[in-house]
Protein backbone atom coordinates (compact mmCIF):
# COMPACT_ATOMS: atom_id res chain seq x y z
CA UNK A 1 0.00 0.00 0.00
CA UNK A 2 1.18 3.49 -0.79
CA UNK A 3 1.66 5.62 2.29
CA UNK A 4 1.04 8.89 0.44
CA UNK A 5 -2.67 8.35 -0.08
CA UNK A 6 -4.79 10.29 2.40
CA UNK A 7 -7.40 7.52 2.40
CA UNK A 8 -7.05 3.94 1.24
CA UNK A 9 -9.72 1.38 1.97
CA UNK A 10 -9.62 -2.28 0.92
CA UNK A 11 -12.46 -4.80 1.34
CA UNK A 12 -13.90 -2.89 4.26
CA UNK A 13 -16.86 -4.56 5.96
CA UNK A 14 -18.79 -3.90 9.12
CA UNK A 15 -21.40 -6.07 10.75
CA UNK A 16 -23.24 -4.71 13.76
CA UNK A 17 -24.58 -7.22 16.24
CA UNK A 18 -27.87 -6.16 17.76
CA UNK A 19 -30.40 -7.41 20.29
CA UNK A 20 -30.07 -8.62 23.86
CA UNK A 21 -28.27 -11.82 22.79
CA UNK A 22 -26.37 -10.02 20.01
CA UNK A 23 -27.80 -12.56 17.57
CA UNK A 24 -29.25 -10.09 15.06
CA UNK A 25 -26.76 -8.93 12.49
CA UNK A 26 -26.88 -5.84 10.34
CA UNK A 27 -24.33 -5.69 7.54
CA UNK A 28 -23.73 -1.96 7.30
CA UNK A 29 -20.79 -2.19 4.93
CA UNK A 30 -19.70 -4.95 2.54
CA UNK A 31 -16.32 -5.12 0.83
CA UNK A 32 -15.79 -1.42 0.19
CA UNK A 33 -12.73 -0.33 -1.81
CA UNK A 34 -11.84 3.35 -1.90
CA UNK A 35 -8.85 5.49 -2.79
CA UNK A 36 -8.75 9.23 -2.21
CA UNK A 37 -5.86 11.07 -3.85
CA UNK A 38 -4.12 14.07 -2.25
CA UNK A 39 -5.95 17.36 -2.82
CA UNK A 40 -9.13 15.68 -4.03
CA UNK A 41 -12.65 16.53 -2.88
CA UNK A 42 -14.30 13.14 -2.73
CA UNK A 43 -18.03 12.66 -2.24
CA UNK A 44 -19.66 9.76 -0.46
CA UNK A 45 -23.21 9.59 -1.71
CA UNK A 46 -26.00 7.26 -0.70
CA UNK A 47 -29.42 6.99 0.91
CA UNK A 48 -29.90 6.56 4.66
CA UNK A 49 -28.28 3.38 5.90
CA UNK A 50 -26.04 3.05 2.84
CA UNK A 51 -22.89 2.79 4.97
CA UNK A 52 -21.54 6.31 4.50
CA UNK A 53 -21.35 7.20 8.17
CA UNK A 54 -20.05 3.74 9.05
CA UNK A 55 -17.18 4.22 6.59
CA UNK A 56 -16.36 7.58 8.14
CA UNK A 57 -16.62 6.22 11.67
CA UNK A 58 -14.18 3.43 10.83
CA UNK A 59 -11.79 6.02 9.39
CA UNK A 60 -12.09 8.11 12.55
CA UNK A 61 -11.55 5.17 14.91
CA UNK A 62 -15.08 5.41 16.30
CA UNK A 63 -16.07 1.99 14.99
CA UNK A 64 -13.90 -1.07 14.37
CA UNK A 65 -14.07 -2.78 10.99
CA UNK A 66 -15.23 -6.41 10.92
CA UNK A 67 -13.12 -7.15 7.82
CA UNK A 68 -10.74 -5.37 5.50
CA UNK A 69 -8.36 -2.50 6.08
CA UNK A 70 -8.59 1.27 6.25
CA UNK A 71 -5.53 3.52 6.08
CA UNK A 72 -5.05 7.25 6.63
CA UNK A 73 -1.76 8.39 5.11
CA UNK A 74 -0.68 4.76 5.20
CA UNK A 75 -1.43 4.32 8.89
CA UNK A 76 -4.37 2.55 10.53
CA UNK A 77 -6.99 4.90 12.04
CA UNK A 78 -6.12 3.57 15.49
CA UNK A 79 -2.71 5.25 15.13
CA UNK A 80 -2.78 8.69 16.77
CA UNK A 81 -0.26 10.03 14.23
CA UNK A 82 -2.74 9.26 11.44
CA UNK A 83 -5.53 11.17 13.19
CA UNK A 84 -3.21 14.11 13.94
CA UNK A 85 -3.38 15.04 10.24
CA UNK A 86 -7.17 14.83 10.07
CA UNK A 87 -10.00 17.24 10.88
CA UNK A 88 -13.40 15.70 11.48
CA UNK A 89 -16.92 17.06 11.53
CA UNK A 90 -19.46 14.38 12.53
CA UNK A 91 -23.10 14.33 11.51
CA UNK A 92 -25.20 16.40 13.93
CA UNK A 93 -22.14 17.41 15.96
CA UNK A 94 -22.56 17.62 19.72
CA UNK A 95 -19.90 19.83 21.32
CA UNK A 96 -19.66 20.23 25.09
CA UNK A 97 -22.55 22.57 25.88
CA UNK A 98 -20.99 23.96 29.05
CA UNK A 99 -18.06 25.40 27.09
CA UNK A 100 -18.09 28.64 25.13
CA UNK A 101 -17.40 28.41 21.41
CA UNK A 102 -13.86 29.73 21.87
CA UNK A 103 -13.15 27.32 24.74
CA UNK A 104 -14.38 24.40 22.64
CA UNK A 105 -12.20 25.25 19.64
CA UNK A 106 -9.24 25.79 22.02
CA UNK A 107 -9.84 22.35 23.57
CA UNK A 108 -9.92 20.80 20.09
CA UNK A 109 -6.63 22.52 19.25
CA UNK A 110 -5.00 21.32 22.47
CA UNK A 111 -6.14 17.74 21.85
CA UNK A 112 -4.62 18.01 18.37
CA UNK A 113 -1.29 18.96 19.97
CA UNK A 114 -1.36 22.77 19.59
CA UNK A 115 -0.53 25.22 22.36
CA UNK A 116 0.43 28.75 23.35
CA UNK A 117 0.28 31.83 21.15
CA UNK A 118 -0.03 29.79 17.95
CA UNK A 119 -3.19 28.14 19.27
CA UNK A 120 -4.71 31.43 20.49
CA UNK A 121 -4.10 33.04 17.11
CA UNK A 122 -5.44 30.08 15.18
CA UNK A 123 -8.59 29.89 17.36
CA UNK A 124 -9.34 33.56 16.58
CA UNK A 125 -8.64 32.93 12.90
CA UNK A 126 -10.95 29.92 12.49
CA UNK A 127 -13.72 31.51 14.55
CA UNK A 128 -13.50 34.43 12.14
CA UNK A 129 -13.59 32.06 9.17
CA UNK A 130 -16.91 30.57 10.33
CA UNK A 131 -18.17 34.07 11.26
CA UNK A 132 -18.73 33.27 14.91
CA UNK A 133 -16.76 36.12 16.50
CA UNK A 134 -19.80 37.64 18.19
CA UNK A 135 -20.89 34.35 19.77
CA UNK A 136 -17.42 33.03 20.62
CA UNK A 137 -17.75 33.85 24.32
CA UNK A 138 -21.27 32.49 24.64
CA UNK A 139 -21.88 29.00 26.09
CA UNK A 140 -22.68 26.48 23.36
CA UNK A 141 -25.93 25.52 25.12
CA UNK A 142 -27.27 28.88 23.84
CA UNK A 143 -26.30 28.21 20.21
CA UNK A 144 -28.73 27.47 17.38
CA UNK A 145 -28.20 24.35 15.22
CA UNK A 146 -26.49 26.39 12.53
CA UNK A 147 -24.12 27.97 15.07
CA UNK A 148 -23.23 24.51 16.45
CA UNK A 149 -22.48 23.34 12.92
CA UNK A 150 -20.18 26.32 12.32
CA UNK A 151 -18.29 26.07 15.60
CA UNK A 152 -17.87 22.33 15.01
CA UNK A 153 -16.46 23.08 11.59
CA UNK A 154 -14.06 25.54 13.24
CA UNK A 155 -12.79 22.81 15.58
CA UNK A 156 -12.30 20.51 12.59
CA UNK A 157 -9.97 22.93 10.80
CA UNK A 158 -8.21 24.44 13.82
CA UNK A 159 -5.16 22.16 13.45
CA UNK A 160 -4.75 22.89 9.70
CA UNK A 161 -5.49 19.28 8.75
CA UNK A 162 -4.19 17.67 5.58
CA UNK A 163 -7.40 15.66 5.37
CA UNK A 164 -10.84 16.94 6.26
CA UNK A 165 -13.63 14.41 6.81
CA UNK A 166 -17.06 16.00 6.80
CA UNK A 167 -20.22 14.06 7.57
CA UNK A 168 -23.27 16.01 6.37
CA UNK A 169 -21.60 19.41 6.87
CA UNK A 170 -24.49 21.45 5.47
CA UNK A 171 -27.33 19.68 7.25
CA UNK A 172 -29.42 22.00 9.40
CA UNK A 173 -28.07 25.14 7.80
CA UNK A 174 -30.12 27.83 6.11
CA UNK A 175 -29.23 28.72 2.47
CA UNK A 176 -26.80 31.44 3.60
CA UNK A 177 -25.12 29.07 6.05
CA UNK A 178 -24.90 26.38 3.38
CA UNK A 179 -23.26 28.78 1.00
CA UNK A 180 -20.74 29.83 3.69
CA UNK A 181 -19.86 26.22 4.48
CA UNK A 182 -19.48 25.45 0.80
CA UNK A 183 -17.19 28.46 0.40
CA UNK A 184 -15.17 27.30 3.38
CA UNK A 185 -14.79 23.83 1.88
CA UNK A 186 -13.68 25.38 -1.41
CA UNK A 187 -11.16 27.54 0.48
CA UNK A 188 -9.78 24.43 2.20
CA UNK A 189 -9.49 22.74 -1.21
CA UNK A 190 -7.57 25.76 -2.51
CA UNK A 191 -5.21 25.32 0.41
CA UNK A 192 -4.57 21.79 -0.83
CA UNK A 193 -6.56 19.96 1.82
CA UNK A 194 -7.99 16.59 0.80
CA UNK A 195 -11.68 16.42 1.64
CA UNK A 196 -13.93 13.41 2.11
CA UNK A 197 -17.43 14.70 2.05
CA UNK A 198 -20.49 12.66 2.92
CA UNK A 199 -24.00 13.88 2.23
CA UNK A 200 -27.31 13.13 0.64
CA UNK A 201 -27.68 16.71 -0.57
CA UNK A 202 -26.76 15.95 -4.17
CA UNK A 203 -26.41 19.56 -5.28
CA UNK A 204 -23.61 20.00 -2.72
CA UNK A 205 -21.74 17.01 -4.13
CA UNK A 206 -22.20 18.29 -7.66
CA UNK A 207 -20.92 21.73 -6.67
CA UNK A 208 -17.93 20.58 -4.62
CA UNK A 209 -16.71 17.11 -5.49
CA UNK A 210 -14.34 15.98 -8.20
CA UNK A 211 -14.90 12.31 -7.59
CA UNK A 212 -17.81 10.46 -6.10
CA UNK A 213 -18.76 7.02 -4.86
CA UNK A 214 -22.38 5.94 -4.55
CA UNK A 215 -23.11 3.45 -1.78
CA UNK A 216 -26.32 1.47 -1.54
CA UNK A 217 -26.99 -1.12 1.17
CA UNK A 218 -23.37 -1.08 2.28
CA UNK A 219 -22.04 -1.75 -1.24
CA UNK A 220 -20.31 0.45 -3.77
CA UNK A 221 -22.54 0.73 -6.83
CA UNK A 222 -20.88 3.61 -8.74
CA UNK A 223 -17.48 5.25 -8.52
CA UNK A 224 -15.68 7.75 -10.68
CA UNK A 225 -15.13 11.41 -11.41
CA UNK A 226 -18.34 13.44 -11.53
CA UNK A 227 -17.60 14.46 -15.14
CA UNK A 228 -17.02 10.85 -16.26
CA UNK A 229 -20.12 9.57 -14.57
CA UNK A 230 -22.35 12.24 -16.09
CA UNK A 231 -20.83 12.54 -19.55
CA UNK A 232 -21.28 8.84 -20.30
CA UNK A 233 -25.06 9.20 -20.17
CA UNK A 234 -27.34 9.68 -23.19
CA UNK A 235 -29.09 13.06 -23.35
CA UNK A 236 -32.68 13.19 -22.14
CA UNK A 237 -35.53 15.34 -23.46
CA UNK A 238 -38.42 16.53 -21.33
CA UNK A 239 -41.74 17.10 -23.11
CA UNK A 240 -45.13 18.46 -22.08
CA UNK A 241 -48.03 17.14 -24.19
CA UNK A 242 -51.66 18.27 -24.19
CA UNK A 243 -54.65 16.58 -25.85
CA UNK A 244 -53.42 12.99 -25.46
CA UNK A 245 -53.56 10.73 -22.42
CA UNK A 246 -50.56 9.00 -20.89
CA UNK A 247 -51.93 5.65 -22.13
CA UNK A 248 -52.03 6.92 -25.71
CA UNK A 249 -48.47 8.21 -25.43
CA UNK A 250 -47.26 4.92 -23.95
CA UNK A 251 -49.00 3.18 -26.85
CA UNK A 252 -46.40 4.64 -29.24
CA UNK A 253 -43.99 2.10 -27.73
CA UNK A 254 -41.10 4.34 -26.68
CA UNK A 255 -39.23 3.87 -23.41
CA UNK A 256 -40.17 6.70 -21.06
CA UNK A 257 -37.76 7.36 -18.19
CA UNK A 258 -40.38 9.47 -16.45
CA UNK A 259 -44.09 10.04 -17.11
CA UNK A 260 -46.72 11.90 -15.11
CA UNK A 261 -50.35 12.50 -16.16
CA UNK A 262 -51.68 15.78 -14.72
CA UNK A 263 -55.10 15.42 -16.41
CA UNK A 264 -54.85 18.44 -18.71
CA UNK A 265 -51.28 17.65 -19.70
CA UNK A 266 -48.67 14.88 -19.57
CA UNK A 267 -45.10 15.48 -18.54
CA UNK A 268 -42.61 12.90 -19.79
CA UNK A 269 -38.92 12.30 -20.25
CA UNK A 270 -37.35 10.09 -22.88
CA UNK A 271 -34.13 9.63 -24.81
CA UNK A 272 -33.01 12.04 -27.54
CA UNK A 273 -33.87 9.79 -30.54
CA UNK A 274 -37.14 8.55 -29.10
CA UNK A 275 -38.14 12.17 -28.51
CA UNK A 276 -37.87 12.99 -32.22
CA UNK A 277 -40.25 10.13 -33.16
CA UNK A 278 -42.58 10.81 -30.23
CA UNK A 279 -42.85 14.44 -31.26
CA UNK A 280 -43.98 13.47 -34.79
CA UNK A 281 -46.37 10.77 -33.57
CA UNK A 282 -47.94 13.12 -31.03
CA UNK A 283 -48.60 15.80 -33.63
CA UNK A 284 -50.00 13.22 -36.09
CA UNK A 285 -52.33 11.87 -33.39
CA UNK A 286 -53.73 15.37 -32.79
CA UNK A 287 -51.82 16.16 -29.63
CA UNK A 288 -50.17 19.49 -28.84
CA UNK A 289 -46.57 19.66 -27.69
CA UNK A 290 -46.35 22.76 -25.47
CA UNK A 291 -42.80 22.31 -24.30
CA UNK A 292 -39.66 20.46 -25.43
CA UNK A 293 -36.59 20.85 -23.28
CA UNK A 294 -33.32 18.91 -23.40
CA UNK A 295 -32.30 18.11 -19.82
CA UNK A 296 -28.84 17.43 -18.51
CA UNK A 297 -28.34 14.07 -16.86
CA UNK A 298 -27.69 15.12 -13.29
CA UNK A 299 -26.00 13.48 -10.38
CA UNK A 300 -29.45 13.09 -8.89
CA UNK A 301 -30.52 11.02 -11.92
CA UNK A 302 -27.36 8.96 -11.58
CA UNK A 303 -28.06 8.45 -7.90
CA UNK A 304 -31.65 7.36 -8.51
CA UNK A 305 -30.60 5.04 -11.35
CA UNK A 306 -27.97 3.51 -9.10
CA UNK A 307 -30.60 2.91 -6.44
CA UNK A 308 -32.91 1.25 -8.97
CA UNK A 309 -30.15 -0.97 -10.32
CA UNK A 310 -29.11 -2.03 -6.86
CA UNK A 311 -32.74 -3.12 -6.29
CA UNK A 312 -32.37 -2.26 -2.67
CA UNK A 313 -34.62 -0.46 -0.21
CA UNK A 314 -33.51 3.06 0.57
CA UNK A 315 -33.09 2.48 4.29
CA UNK A 316 -30.70 0.24 6.20
CA UNK A 317 -28.13 -2.39 5.46
CA UNK A 318 -28.75 -6.11 5.07
CA UNK A 319 -30.30 -7.75 8.09
CA UNK A 320 -30.00 -11.41 9.02
Amino acid sequence: MSSSLPIEVRGLAKTYRLGFWMNRQVRALQGLDLEVQPGQVYGLLGPNGAGKSTTIKILMNLVQASEGTARLFGLPPTDEEARRQVGFLPENPAPYEYLTGAEFVTLAGKLAGMSGHELDQRVKEVIGMVEMERAAKLQIRRYSKGMIQRISLAQAIVNRPKLLILDEPTSGLDPVGRRQVRDLILAERQRGTTILFCTHIISDVEALCERVVVLVGGRRVREGSVRELLSGQAPVVEMTVEGLSLGQLQGFGHELTYAQDFGDRVLLRTGDQAAQLLLQQTLQAGGRVTQVQPTRYSLEDLFLDALKEARHGTVGGEIS
Binding site: Y16, N61, Q64, R83, P90, Y96, Y98, L111, G113, S115
Partner: protein, 256 residues
Protein backbone atom coordinates in the same frame (compact mmCIF):
# COMPACT_ATOMS: atom_id res chain seq x y z
CA UNK B 1 0.62 13.45 25.80
CA UNK B 2 0.93 15.50 28.99
CA UNK B 3 -0.58 18.52 27.25
CA UNK B 4 -3.57 16.49 26.05
CA UNK B 5 -3.94 14.90 29.48
CA UNK B 6 -3.92 18.37 31.08
CA UNK B 7 -6.53 19.62 28.59
CA UNK B 8 -8.84 16.69 29.33
CA UNK B 9 -8.38 17.04 33.10
CA UNK B 10 -9.04 20.77 33.15
CA UNK B 11 -12.02 20.31 30.86
CA UNK B 12 -13.45 17.70 33.24
CA UNK B 13 -12.90 20.10 36.14
CA UNK B 14 -14.57 22.91 34.21
CA UNK B 15 -17.53 20.65 33.38
CA UNK B 16 -18.03 19.73 37.04
CA UNK B 17 -17.57 23.34 38.14
CA UNK B 18 -20.26 24.50 35.73
CA UNK B 19 -22.55 21.62 36.67
CA UNK B 20 -25.32 22.89 38.94
CA UNK B 21 -25.34 19.63 40.90
CA UNK B 22 -21.73 20.16 42.03
CA UNK B 23 -22.51 23.70 43.15
CA UNK B 24 -25.65 22.59 45.01
CA UNK B 25 -23.71 19.77 46.73
CA UNK B 26 -20.93 22.17 47.73
CA UNK B 27 -23.38 24.70 49.18
CA UNK B 28 -25.40 21.96 50.90
CA UNK B 29 -22.31 20.44 52.53
CA UNK B 30 -21.05 23.79 53.72
CA UNK B 31 -24.48 24.39 55.25
CA UNK B 32 -24.39 20.95 56.84
CA UNK B 33 -20.92 21.59 58.25
CA UNK B 34 -22.01 24.87 59.78
CA UNK B 35 -25.18 23.26 61.14
CA UNK B 36 -22.99 20.98 63.28
CA UNK B 37 -22.82 24.05 65.54
CA UNK B 38 -26.46 23.31 66.45
CA UNK B 39 -25.58 19.71 67.34
CA UNK B 40 -22.72 20.80 69.56
CA UNK B 41 -25.10 23.15 71.42
CA UNK B 42 -26.89 20.15 72.93
CA UNK B 43 -23.65 18.25 73.66
CA UNK B 44 -22.13 18.51 77.11
CA UNK B 45 -18.99 16.38 77.38
CA UNK B 46 -18.04 15.01 73.92
CA UNK B 47 -18.07 18.31 72.11
CA UNK B 48 -15.03 17.76 69.88
CA UNK B 49 -16.02 14.18 69.02
CA UNK B 50 -19.49 15.21 67.88
CA UNK B 51 -18.09 18.06 65.85
CA UNK B 52 -15.62 15.72 64.12
CA UNK B 53 -18.29 13.04 63.62
CA UNK B 54 -20.82 15.39 62.07
CA UNK B 55 -18.29 17.39 60.07
CA UNK B 56 -16.35 14.49 58.56
CA UNK B 57 -19.55 12.44 58.15
CA UNK B 58 -21.26 15.26 56.22
CA UNK B 59 -18.22 15.64 53.98
CA UNK B 60 -18.05 11.89 53.32
CA UNK B 61 -21.73 11.38 52.52
CA UNK B 62 -22.10 14.32 50.17
CA UNK B 63 -18.78 13.81 48.39
CA UNK B 64 -19.44 10.08 47.91
CA UNK B 65 -22.85 10.87 46.42
CA UNK B 66 -21.27 13.49 44.17
CA UNK B 67 -18.50 11.06 43.14
CA UNK B 68 -21.13 8.45 42.19
CA UNK B 69 -23.14 11.05 40.28
CA UNK B 70 -20.13 12.43 38.40
CA UNK B 71 -18.47 9.12 37.56
CA UNK B 72 -21.29 6.67 36.88
CA UNK B 73 -22.86 8.64 34.05
CA UNK B 74 -19.85 10.31 32.54
CA UNK B 75 -18.88 7.90 29.78
CA UNK B 76 -22.49 6.93 29.07
CA UNK B 77 -23.43 10.60 28.73
CA UNK B 78 -20.48 11.22 26.41
CA UNK B 79 -21.61 8.34 24.19
CA UNK B 80 -25.34 9.11 24.29
CA UNK B 81 -24.86 12.83 23.61
CA UNK B 82 -22.22 11.96 21.00
CA UNK B 83 -19.76 14.46 22.46
CA UNK B 84 -17.29 11.57 22.40
CA UNK B 85 -17.11 11.76 18.57
CA UNK B 86 -15.31 15.08 18.70
CA UNK B 87 -12.75 13.89 21.26
CA UNK B 88 -11.98 10.29 20.34
CA UNK B 89 -11.45 11.33 16.71
CA UNK B 90 -8.59 13.58 17.85
CA UNK B 91 -5.07 12.15 18.26
CA UNK B 92 -5.88 11.02 21.79
CA UNK B 93 -5.97 7.39 22.86
CA UNK B 94 -9.08 6.10 24.54
CA UNK B 95 -6.99 5.17 27.58
CA UNK B 96 -5.79 8.76 27.91
CA UNK B 97 -9.36 9.97 27.52
CA UNK B 98 -10.53 7.77 30.43
CA UNK B 99 -7.59 8.68 32.66
CA UNK B 100 -7.93 12.40 31.81
CA UNK B 101 -11.65 12.44 32.52
CA UNK B 102 -11.14 10.56 35.82
CA UNK B 103 -8.40 13.02 36.76
CA UNK B 104 -10.82 15.88 36.04
CA UNK B 105 -13.38 14.34 38.39
CA UNK B 106 -10.77 13.74 41.09
CA UNK B 107 -9.51 17.32 40.77
CA UNK B 108 -13.08 18.57 41.28
CA UNK B 109 -13.54 16.34 44.31
CA UNK B 110 -10.13 17.39 45.69
CA UNK B 111 -11.01 21.09 45.41
CA UNK B 112 -14.37 20.53 47.10
CA UNK B 113 -12.78 18.36 49.81
CA UNK B 114 -10.16 21.03 50.41
CA UNK B 115 -12.78 23.79 50.66
CA UNK B 116 -14.89 21.71 53.03
CA UNK B 117 -11.85 20.81 55.13
CA UNK B 118 -10.92 24.48 55.43
CA UNK B 119 -14.44 25.30 56.64
CA UNK B 120 -14.39 22.34 59.05
CA UNK B 121 -10.97 23.14 60.52
CA UNK B 122 -11.82 26.86 60.75
CA UNK B 123 -14.98 25.94 62.61
CA UNK B 124 -12.93 23.85 65.05
CA UNK B 125 -10.46 26.69 65.51
CA UNK B 126 -13.32 29.10 66.25
CA UNK B 127 -14.44 26.76 69.03
CA UNK B 128 -10.90 26.83 70.36
CA UNK B 129 -10.14 23.24 69.41
CA UNK B 130 -6.92 22.07 67.82
CA UNK B 131 -6.89 20.42 64.42
CA UNK B 132 -5.64 16.88 65.08
CA UNK B 133 -3.51 14.67 62.89
CA UNK B 134 -6.15 11.88 62.73
CA UNK B 135 -8.63 14.43 61.37
CA UNK B 136 -6.23 15.48 58.60
CA UNK B 137 -5.55 11.80 57.81
CA UNK B 138 -9.30 11.06 57.70
CA UNK B 139 -9.90 13.95 55.27
CA UNK B 140 -6.96 12.85 53.08
CA UNK B 141 -8.03 9.20 53.02
CA UNK B 142 -11.57 10.27 52.12
CA UNK B 143 -10.09 11.41 48.79
CA UNK B 144 -8.62 7.90 48.25
CA UNK B 145 -12.04 6.43 49.03
CA UNK B 146 -13.58 8.81 46.49
CA UNK B 147 -10.97 7.68 43.97
CA UNK B 148 -11.99 4.04 44.45
CA UNK B 149 -15.71 4.87 44.13
CA UNK B 150 -15.11 7.03 41.04
CA UNK B 151 -13.03 4.33 39.35
CA UNK B 152 -15.78 1.75 39.98
CA UNK B 153 -18.27 4.24 38.50
CA UNK B 154 -16.03 4.70 35.45
CA UNK B 155 -15.61 0.94 34.96
CA UNK B 156 -19.40 0.47 35.10
CA UNK B 157 -20.03 3.47 32.88
CA UNK B 158 -17.76 2.04 30.19
CA UNK B 159 -20.43 -0.54 29.28
CA UNK B 160 -23.62 0.02 31.30
CA UNK B 161 -26.28 2.72 31.34
CA UNK B 162 -26.16 5.64 33.78
CA UNK B 163 -28.88 4.16 36.01
CA UNK B 164 -27.27 0.72 36.21
CA UNK B 165 -23.84 2.27 36.83
CA UNK B 166 -25.19 4.50 39.61
CA UNK B 167 -27.08 1.65 41.31
CA UNK B 168 -24.12 -0.77 41.12
CA UNK B 169 -21.61 1.86 42.27
CA UNK B 170 -23.83 2.79 45.23
CA UNK B 171 -24.17 -0.92 46.04
CA UNK B 172 -20.39 -1.37 45.83
CA UNK B 173 -19.94 1.58 48.22
CA UNK B 174 -22.15 0.02 50.91
CA UNK B 175 -20.92 -3.54 50.31
CA UNK B 176 -17.34 -2.26 50.28
CA UNK B 177 -17.76 -0.97 53.82
CA UNK B 178 -19.09 -4.40 54.83
CA UNK B 179 -16.70 -6.60 52.86
CA UNK B 180 -14.60 -7.50 55.93
CA UNK B 181 -17.79 -8.46 57.80
CA UNK B 182 -18.91 -10.58 54.83
CA UNK B 183 -15.54 -12.37 54.91
CA UNK B 184 -15.73 -12.95 58.68
CA UNK B 185 -19.29 -14.21 58.53
CA UNK B 186 -18.53 -16.56 55.64
CA UNK B 187 -15.42 -17.97 57.33
CA UNK B 188 -17.56 -18.98 60.32
CA UNK B 189 -19.81 -21.06 58.09
CA UNK B 190 -19.31 -24.83 57.95
CA UNK B 191 -20.13 -24.86 54.23
CA UNK B 192 -17.06 -24.78 52.02
CA UNK B 193 -19.06 -23.13 49.24
CA UNK B 194 -20.16 -20.24 51.46
CA UNK B 195 -16.60 -19.80 52.69
CA UNK B 196 -15.38 -19.73 49.11
CA UNK B 197 -18.08 -17.23 48.02
CA UNK B 198 -17.36 -15.03 51.05
CA UNK B 199 -13.66 -14.96 50.19
CA UNK B 200 -14.46 -14.22 46.55
CA UNK B 201 -16.72 -11.31 47.47
CA UNK B 202 -14.08 -9.99 49.85
CA UNK B 203 -11.36 -9.99 47.19
CA UNK B 204 -13.56 -8.60 44.40
CA UNK B 205 -15.15 -5.78 46.37
CA UNK B 206 -13.04 -2.85 47.52
CA UNK B 207 -12.39 -2.95 51.25
CA UNK B 208 -13.59 0.58 51.92
CA UNK B 209 -13.50 0.09 55.69
CA UNK B 210 -9.73 0.06 55.30
CA UNK B 211 -9.87 3.58 53.85
CA UNK B 212 -12.25 4.90 56.49
CA UNK B 213 -10.21 6.76 59.11
CA UNK B 214 -13.11 8.83 60.41
CA UNK B 215 -13.67 6.73 63.58
CA UNK B 216 -9.97 7.25 64.46
CA UNK B 217 -10.44 10.99 63.92
CA UNK B 218 -13.45 11.07 66.24
CA UNK B 219 -11.63 9.18 68.99
CA UNK B 220 -8.30 10.87 68.25
CA UNK B 221 -6.52 7.56 67.69
CA UNK B 222 -3.21 8.04 65.91
CA UNK B 223 -2.67 5.44 63.20
CA UNK B 224 0.93 4.45 62.32
CA UNK B 225 2.15 6.09 59.11
CA UNK B 226 2.90 2.67 57.56
CA UNK B 227 -0.73 1.57 58.00
CA UNK B 228 -1.93 4.77 56.36
CA UNK B 229 0.47 4.34 53.45
CA UNK B 230 -0.52 0.68 52.98
CA UNK B 231 -4.21 1.62 52.97
CA UNK B 232 -3.59 4.44 50.48
CA UNK B 233 -1.57 2.08 48.27
CA UNK B 234 -4.39 -0.49 48.45
CA UNK B 235 -6.98 2.13 47.43
CA UNK B 236 -4.88 3.51 44.59
CA UNK B 237 -4.06 -0.04 43.41
CA UNK B 238 -7.74 -1.03 43.42
CA UNK B 239 -8.62 2.13 41.49
CA UNK B 240 -5.84 1.31 39.01
CA UNK B 241 -7.36 -2.13 38.35
CA UNK B 242 -10.80 -0.56 37.82
CA UNK B 243 -9.38 2.05 35.43
CA UNK B 244 -7.54 -0.70 33.50
CA UNK B 245 -10.85 -2.58 33.25
CA UNK B 246 -12.63 0.57 32.03
CA UNK B 247 -9.90 1.17 29.43
CA UNK B 248 -10.05 -2.47 28.27
CA UNK B 249 -13.82 -2.34 27.72
CA UNK B 250 -13.93 1.23 26.37
CA UNK B 251 -11.15 0.60 23.84
CA UNK B 252 -13.20 -2.15 22.23
CA UNK B 253 -16.47 -0.25 22.02
CA UNK B 254 -18.08 0.94 18.82
CA UNK B 255 -19.64 4.37 18.93
CA UNK B 256 -22.58 4.07 16.53
Amino acid sequence: MIREFGALTLNGFREARRNRVSVVVAVFTLGLLLSSTLVTDVTVYTFQRVLADVGLGAMAVTLVLLAIFLSSGLLTREIERRTIFLVVSKPVSRALFIVGRLAGNMLTLAVLLLAMSVVFFTQEALYGMAVTRPQVVAAGMLWVELLVISSVGFAMSSFASQLVSAVVTTGVYFAGHLSADIYNLASRSESGLIQWVGKGVYYVLPNLARLNFRPQASYEVVTPAMDILQSAAYGIGYAGVMVALAVFIFSRRDFK
